[in-house]
Amino acid sequence: MTEPVTAPVTFDETLHGRRRRSHAAAALDAAPTQVLELPPPPAERPATVLPRLALDENPADPGRVAVGFSRDDVLSVAGAGLAGLSVGLIFTVVLGIIPTGWLLVVSYVWFVALYAVIVFLRNPGPAVVDRFWSIMLWSAGAVVIASLALVIGFTLISGQDVVTQMFAADAGGLIDRLHFFWQDMGTVGPLAGLEQGGIFHALVGTIEQIGIALIITVPLGLTTAVYLGEVGGRLARFVRTIVEAMTALPSVVAGLFIYAAVIIAFTRQFNGFAAALAITVLMLPIMIRSADVVLRLVPGNLREAGLALGAGQWAVVWYVVLPTVRSGLTTAIILGTAHGIGETAPVLLTAGVTSNLNFDPFNGPMTSLPLAALEFVKAPQPEMRARGFATAAFLLVVVLVLFVIARIIGGQEAGTVSAKQRVRLTQRSRGTLARIQANRREHESRGSADDGEGMPPGLEQLFQPETDPPNLPKATNE
């Protein structure tokens, strides 16, 4: 180490050395050290070819090969669908041996069968299986969408009178038309028409109850999830097991618990806070569980990278782990919220029911949206039932809005950016670069007085040791 190392092995030499063992090189050097059993090379090895010489420099953009669905696939599905429908019609409408209500079911069964046959005629076994299961997957998706559509459709149709009233000719100004959202039922009796009354009281109740529940669950839930994922240990495993078991805690049991432990024992009256506590008990495990799952997906190498930079555990969690899964955590919170917002049984046991607006969560009954829906629907009057379903529909809308908000706040997965964001970030980058360059100039003008090096003092200290080490090895292979 007293003299600069002269390169004992250079890239080229190594390459050469290696090539000595390769048949290509062997042929080249005419000194074959290894005889490979190869088909004899063609008598005359062609020289290499430069294909670009034969091409235009700027060709017109050619069309592209259409890949994906072939016309055959599409026609098979369409044909089988048509045939299935026809057979269904024959059985139901024409022959009448199956009730017309079963038309879709019959047609579907025939469609699947006929499609399988069609595919079988032209394709090998695996393709038939593939197409069959594709249809099954599509069907599963369709069934799920259809059921949700039925549920929502039923709710909307059952509550349509409320909407109709809103659009009625004599409903008055915009404010009057929207009375359903800003009035309560305080002065509205069972005989009142739909032009009066609304669900403002329930909306307030829902917001306050879920708000209180979130104030408790978000910090507690996320802390616990972090505890499970980052601290660990035997106790953490026990907590995780308990929490997982608790995700299935029957909501009515949670309600009973709060009813006995809070209302009977302390408050002696129904109140919104007790309901919030019951919702909390139900939301906590859901939130912890989904947050825990998300946290466990953070690649271990990110944590290692953080630790290797000299960070403490807390810093790694706060600066690396949590930001990486921000969107996942938002989803966890929203899932918990959406679940808590729809809880009925525990709220019924703890918040009581009222038609009056109540802003005070600690005193007196406080209705929430799902509870109001249930209570409305329980009433005999058609107007009340319509209000009930309209409330349920409104609840769905509220949840939908929450989802949208969460997606906006939570953003996409860490590290992915949309096209719009990319443009913005590019602009920001330009700003940052300009700032850095300005800083650099300023620093240099200040620093040129002493050493002229474009480096902050700390960096100098770091990268320019006080005394140059003697015999610093130099790059060897240039």
Partner: protein, 280 residues
């Protein structure tokens, strides 16, 4: 073994091959252009890969070697935004023709990836014959047994794993996993085997074994291998194509030909610079 490979015999009934009459497996890429969305990454690339020989694709990173390779067995389509123009003819048939089934193209043209990807839930045995299962080919136990041994022997893996065939494939070392993937591809008797940097994640010993495996396949299967390692290209291939993508332009083949010619006296300066390690 008859049922198992009867399909292979059938193929000989197909129209005569234009490029390669002696042996099946000749692969011709004709005027291929490729895009990701609107980003063009390959521009009118044509290359003929001789049946039974090893063709190496070399070139700096990002020049479209992987894209080209994936176009050769229709894996390119897996990426939603991807599109392409041109023809790929396997023994004369365009694999992109509407009458062609994507699955059969891929079965005929096997592929081995940079990162070994055996099916971790399956045993080594099952991994080896997983292609049969996936293609819906029925075989008796005895046929399967023979096939497993043959394929593992071809991939030079038999001796190392014959005592633990029923253990999960994920338990092997990286190099063994890679050779298991080669064995798995060989078991469906492909005419072509594509390899995308098969050794770049392996240690030298494993690399050596894989290269030996490639040697032993010569003459039986057409091999197309992408590699970053010039020595590897020189060691294993008989033909070579140099890809290059200049700044912000799509990738093209700058030069191709016999490997020794490419390394000994390339005609293009860029090829010469690249193979001599002056860039890339």
């Amino acid at each position: 073994m008859k049922t198992l490979f009867s399909a292979r015999t059938e193929n000989h009934d197909e129209p005569d091959l234009v490029e390669h009459v002696q042996q099946p497996g000749g692969l011709v890429a004709d005027n291929i252009s490729a895009w990701f969305g609107d980003h063009k990454v390959l521009d009118r690339v044509s290359l003929s890969m001789a049946a039974g020989e090893v063709t190496a694709l070399i070139g700096p990173s990002g020049c479209g070697k992987s894209t080209f390779l994936r176009i050769l067995n229709r894996m390119h389509e897996m990426i939603p935004s991807a599109s392409l123009f041109g023809e790929v003819r396997l023994d004369g048939d365009d694999i992109y023709a509407p009458s062609q089934r994507i699955t059969s193209a891929r079965r005929n043209i096997g592929m081995v990836f940079q990162k070994a990807n055996p099916f971790p839930a399956m045993s080594i045995y099952d991994n080896t014959i997983s292609g049969l299962k996936l293609a819906g080919i029925r075989a008796t136990r005895a046929e399967k047994d023979l096939l497993v041994e043959d394929s593992l022997r071809k991939a030079s893996l038999w001796d190392e794993v014959k005592d633990r065939l029923e253990q999960p494939g994920g338990g092997l070392s990286g190099g063994q996993q890679q050779r298991l993937c080669i064995a798995r591809s060989l078991a469906v008797s492909p005419r072509v085997l594509l390899m995308d940097e098969p050794c770049s994640a392996l240690d030298p010993t494993s690399t050596r074994r894989v290269e030996e495996t490639i040697e032993s396949l010569r003459g039986q299967v057409t091999v197309v291998i992408v590699t970053h390692n010039m020595q590897q290209a020189a060691r294993v291939s008989s033909q070579c194509a140099f890809f290059l993508a200049a700044q912000n332009t799509p990738g093209v083949i700058v030069e191709y030909g016999a490997t020794e010619a490419m390394f000994a006296h390339p005609q293009d300066d860029r090829t010469s610079d690249y193979v001599n390690g002056r860039f890339g």
